[in-house]
């Protein structure tokens, strides 16, 4: 997956777990939790969806890397290399 696809993958997961939120105007460089209502249980849902959809394991010490969409791209790029975007799962 390229950068745009990774952002799309994260936004799609957020749409699933926080369906009341509008993800269309999220800034890439601002913490997600400052832009939309996401609590720690939601964050664990994001990690679970990455595991289920892409087989990506994110250890707890790395959760901080997923704070922003830019952070997600940096951290997930190597893990999602060669994987196919799945949306609307």
């Amino acid at each position: 997956m390229n950068r745009e696809e990774i952002i799309q993958a994260i936004k799609d997961i957020i749409t699933t777990i926080a369906p009341d939120e509008d993800v269309s105007n999220l800034a890439n460089d601002v913490r997600l939790r400052e832009q939309i209502e996401l609590d720690s249980m939601d964050f664990l849902d994001i990690v679970m969806e990455l595991r289920k959809r892409y087989g990506v394991q994110v250890p707890e010490e790395d959760y901080k890397e997923l704070a922003t969409l830019d952070g997600c791209v940096t951290y997930l790029s190597p893990k999602l290399a060669g994987k196919t975007l799945k949306v609307g799962v």
Partner: protein
């Protein structure tokens, strides 16, 4: 000891045949069933009473996704009850509101779902959801309700098998009488149709109803009855001390004047007429009433061969000499709503205070001689004129019996 009088001032419900008291009552008088075909994993095609309430009226989509079906049912019932009572919790001391939700069982649905989920991943428990514990704790539906409405008073569930709906109501009344709270939301809920285990267990017990026409499957007292239709549903009441209700000019649906809860101490599943008899008489004694003062007995009968017989034996013993007492049944329409049954079945009878009708038990084509009781209202509503007292019966596994008497309000 003189205890404060407690009255019902609001009713919120969802039943397989109605999502408001008015709709539910109309369908009980018009003989409209709510039983449908239902399919669930491992069991396959079966029958169930399924609710179609508008969950998003009181919950956001995220809350709906995060919580349980029982929580959603409880929140809907609480919201509708508060609305019907004309109560805005924002204007109340929220620490003085109690939530008492009766449940038959809780947690099976989520546990089965999680086991199914991890089975898809070779039982790798890293796929086990972090939502499992908050969804399965025994206070879940009450806790979700407290969260949804910002209620900071006591909120918990009362596990009482299929007597639980009555127990939620009784407990709310008692907490008001003790002065622990100023407003109670009490009743019961059930999400049981979403657990395959309850169907499989009733089937193993030979107690799961089947019929080619789903609307005819639940047939208490009928010779051809063959078991229980499992249903979901919920009903919560707003309860207040009479003085508080009068002070705010509340509509009063009825006064809780008698109750009794006892135990068979005899068997895990089989009911016992003798203890049911004592339970009914206990509620009458508490209310200071004779059997003939009861206008309507809302029976518990679930359409199992033995259960209906035992209840009818108890009814004959208590009400055999009561020319005035009518007996009906709600499960014939909606199946067994488990933890909701007590509260929901009572609710469907409360409009009798206003309309003077007794709704019937339906699907009674061939009365089992062992289920003969005096004034059983079969298949057609009966207009009796004035109704002053309703006795609502709910019994459950492990031998729990409950009875509640509601009186038409008089000052």
């Amino acid at each position: 000891m003189s205890l404060p009088r407690v009255v019902i001032t609001g009713i919120g419900l969802t039943s397989p045949n109605g999502n408001s008291l008015a709709e539910f009552r109309a369908n009980l008088l018009n003989k409209v069933s709510g039983v449908q075909q239902w399919e669930i994993r491992h069991v396959g095609r079966t029958l169930a009473g399924i609710c179609n309430f508008e969950a998003l009226r009181w919950q956001k989509r995220k809350e709906l996704r995060r919580g349980t079906r029982a929580g959603s049912i409880s929140i809907y019932c609480a919201g509708e009850a508060l609305a019907s009572a004309g109560i805005d919790v924002g204007t109340r001391d929220r620490s003085r509101i109690g939530v008492y939700v009766g449940t038959t069982e809780h947690g099976n649905v989520e546990t089965e779902n999680q086991i199914h989920e991890v089975s898809q991943y070779g039982f790798d428990l890293s796929f086990w959801s972090h939502h499992h514990n908050p969804r399965t704790v025994a206070n879940n539906p009450a806790g979700e309700t407290a969260l949804a409405f910002g209620i900071t008073g006591p909120a918990y569930c009362i596990g009482a098998a299929c007597a639980a709906g009555n127990l939620g109501l009784i407990h709310g009344m008692q907490m008001l009488q003790l002065g622990e709270i100023d407003l109670a939301l009490g009743g019961g809920v059930s999400e049981s149709i979403h657990t395959f285990g309850i169907f499989a267990s009733f089937r193993a017990q030979g107690a799961l109803a089947s019929h080619t026409d789903p609307t005819k499957a639940s047939r208490p007292f009928d010779s051809a009855r063959n078991g229980i239709v499992v249903s979901e549903g919920g009903c919560l009441y707003t309860l207040e001390r009479l003085d508080d209700a009068l002070k705010r000019g509340a509509k009063i649906y009825g006064e809780v004047v008698g109750h009794c809860v006892n135990s068979d101490a005899a068997d895990f599943v089989l009911p016992l007429a003798e203890r049911q008899n004592e339970c009914m008489r206990g509620a009458l004694a508490k209310a200071g009433l004779a059997p003939d003062d009861i206008d309507i007995v809302s029976s518990h009968a679930t359409a199992t061969p033995l259960g209906d017989q035992q209840e009818c034996e108890a009814l004959r013993a208590v009400f055999g000499d009561s020319a005035n007492t009518r007996v009906n049944n709600t499960k014939s329409y909606i199946g067994h709503t488990m933890g909701a049954a007590g509260a929901l079945e009572l609710a469907g009878n409360l409009p009798s205070f206003d309309d003077g009708y007794v709704h019937p038990t339906i699907n009674l084509d061939d009365l089992d001689p062992a289920c003969e009781v005096r004034n059983l209202v079969a298949n057609e509503p009966v207009r009796v004129g004035r109704v002053d007292h309703v006795l609502n019966l709910s019994f459950g596994m492990l031998g729990i019996n409950s009875a509640v008497v509601i009186r038409r309000y008089r000052s």
